[in-house]
Subunit: 153 residues, 2 copies
DNA sequence: TTTCAATTGTTGCCATGGCTACATGGTAAA
DNA sequence: TTTACCATGTAGCCATGGCAACAATTGAAA
């Protein structure tokens, strides 16, 4: 099963290492993006983002959410007074907006490819963090061309 | 910006919690899948999977790779004798094959949507772990319908 | 056969992201 | 005004996944 016969051809070592490095980077910010997006949604929808609600919606215990929110604060994405609700900084809001746009884009692409909405929403939650700008632009072109007519298949 | 006016409507609390739970589960197995897939590729391509090569291709220091491989062994996915190359168990090979098929599927979908091959390969590396069976089937239908004619846009 | 470089193994450190258990603060009901 | 309940904060535990530093083994060159 060498290069001649098989389909298998490994990428070059540095290229592959770079790729996995990028995946690790994306993974590191994925959780922060999810929190920031959720906080923005809660602020828009309920007028406030409380720790308990964040924890319940993330499906984690409240100390877990508290730790992550502290990380958001350290990174200048969120802010809060003791025993009060959580708010986003300017940077946090920008990140939330970008995440929200990308999320909706991925969902629409999946829907257009025939994936049911609830599954599309669920899968997009994980996939969205790994969509590069180039891929995002390709997605937009695809939606512009086929999205408005509903499903493609 | 309530339900009436805006686009924003949060999913129900349990639904959203379930979604994020699924993302966490997928994240937990993502690294194992990547290792198993890489080991299978090295075995097919080079005839052996050595620790140094795995570490270099993953872009990590060798103790990091060693720890992860120990985890693979604990979970019954890989096996090795001290100071020897790494092999996959039956289960590990099955996992590798599934991961490989899904990886190629995601790459082909992205390519068909107009994403350049190298970017498609890179993005697929992160996205593939979050593609559910339902979405995978939709991808296959899409490829069957449009894939053979090259890019869609 | 000896020696030495490369590979593998091990230990111990750090940050992250889960959890439980407990302490503290805030507020509404009694 | 108390009190009791809920929300928030904090401490400490575990596993994961990075790292550097050092130990042990292998195997090839001298």
């Amino acid at each position: 099963m060498t290069k001649a016969g098989g389909v298998r051809t490994l990428p070059s070592e540095p290229a592959q290492a770079r790729r996995f490095g990028r995946v690790r980077d994306a993974q590191a910010t994925a959780l922060l993006e999810d929190y920031v997006e959720l906080i923005a949604d809660l602020l828009a929808d309920a007028g406030e983002a409380r720790l308990v609600d964040i924890a319940r919606r993330m499906g984690v215990a409240h100390p877990t959410a508290a730790k992550t929110i502290n990380r958001l604060k350290r990174q200048g994405l969120a802010m809060s007074e003791p025993y009060r609700g959580i708010f986003l900084t300017e940077i946090g809001m920008q990140m939330a907006e970008r995440a929200r746009v990308r999320h909706r884009l991925v969902v629409r692409v999946l829907e257009t490819l025939g994936v049911p909405t609830d599954v599309a929403e669920a899968d997009a939650e994980g996939m969205e963090h790994y969509v590069s700008d180039v891929t995002g632009r390709a997605f937009m072109k695809f939606i512009d061309a086929y999205g408005q007519f509903g499903t493609i298949s």
